[in-house]
Amino acid sequence: MLGLGEGEAGSIVPQHLQRRIKRVSVVVVALAVAIFVTIPVYVMVAVAVQDPTNVFAGGDVHLLIDSVTLRNFEVLFEETATVRYFTNSLIVTISSTILSTSLAVAAGYGLTRFDFTGKTVAARAVLFSYMFSPIVLAIPLYVIFYTLGLLDSYFALTLGLTAISAPFTIWLMWQYFQTVPIALEESAWVRGASRTRTVWDVVLPVARPGYISAAIFSFAVAWNDFTMSRVVMSSDEMYTITVGASLFLDRVTIGWGETMAVSLLICIPPFLIAVFLQNYLLQGFNVGGLE
């Protein structure tokens, strides 16, 4: 603790002035960030829920919401395969979430409770793959899936998405299980429970916050993914919503109104997560960050 305890002022700026500067800068930073974060989201909503003729009337874009219409959503559902894309996204996202989370729970438990040589290597491999570029992985996966005739399938994309999310979910569960005292399990064994039974009745309930975080993370990765889906899914009816919607801007019939409407729809699942599961989400950050 440099300089503390010597009672020195240490600066030519008087203390009360320093505190005032601090208070003002706190408010300024808070406001600036609030505006920086909110305005783009507001713009999306404003364009999505209003009629384009209203938003784009005259020269300047009109962004005050004074009339709400579902017109953009109707055009979206009538003229595009949005529903189909959403269904595809939901299928691969849910499959990948289940696969990634179960892998992580099993591996996390095993890595915590059993000792074996090469554990450090395993830890490094998991962490290294966590930092790996999805596009670099997607290229060989594409060639392999192509050779096996698996391109354009839910199965292939589920594997690809899980490959991206699993390193972190495994890491997260590995760390999480270490906070679960072994004594909890031992007391169940002493009372005659089998090891497998103990895992089911004691370990899993205690680990619930851990695997909810893992599930949120893998859901978010799969839902947000563009790269893997772009590479693995090549026919229009297999596109996920991110790939399908990314092509909207090139179409003449789809304007900004519909584009923002689809954006709003894509945001619904993450929004629900944020509202209901915020604390689990933050727990994920604390363990080592989300990508």
């Binding site: 300089g3 320093q18 960030v33 974060v37 099993a106 830890a123 490094r124 491999a125 060639v143 900004w256």
Partner: protein
Amino acid sequence: MSTSTLRRPFADLDERRLLLWLTFLPLVVFFTLVWAIPILYALGMSLFEDPTTAPTFVGLGNYAAILTSGDFGLFLWNSVLYAVSTTVFSLIIGLALALVVNQEIRGGSILRTMMIFPYLLPTLVVIFIWQFLFDPNIGVINQWLVDYGVVSEPIAFFSTVEWAMPAVAITSVWKFGSFAFFILLARLQAIDPNLYERARVEGASPWQSFRDITVPHLRGAILIILLVRGIWMFNKFDIIYLSTGGGPLDATTTLPIRVYELAFSEVNFGAATALAGIMFFLLAGVAVVYFKVFEPEKEVAH
């Protein structure tokens, strides 16, 4: 937890072994299938010309061709510029806001919640929004810039050579800035408040408390953010591909974009996997530093 009536289906030793298999087998199988085999396969492919159609062994020829090609330097520079600028700005903004929210100001928890939103919006949505905001004809940003006389003509941010990279970087910082914020905020909240109280009683100014208490506690987190966030941004594909596609005139072509172009536009999987291999070795180099400095695996391998 009334488990006392349960019978053991296996003797303890066998059951231990069973659990060991149950927990490790999926991990080993999965990692072999989707990580080890593809990466080895890619490294193998990188040694061939036309590896997918008419493979001819060329050794390190693909690597040599990439490293000596005139534009490799540009793509590497773009990658580094993108990674460094987005990481540093995310860190600055995240740090400023983490310090603010940690003051427990009114509305701090609302700010914290708001910070999750850019992070949760899928990349595609973020790109749509910023393309709209930056649009030269209807974009609000250009309208403001023109109205307030900052520029005389609207700027086509994503399609102008000088502006494409800054525009992509701003978009990226908007989305990923909160990563640094949440990590730093967690660190700040772990600092014992008594330290500040003692410093205040002993007459330390806010600046001195910051320098002598806050900064040392954040140092490790800042290093991690710089390294890990830097690696991720270096690897980022979707945000650039969706906003500029690497253009205009390669102004935003980073190595991941180039890998994709080589594979799917030029259908040259030899070159694509060789470039992926170069990225792999660059990343491995940084990872070695990361493992040496932080020993992150020590956290779990007691």
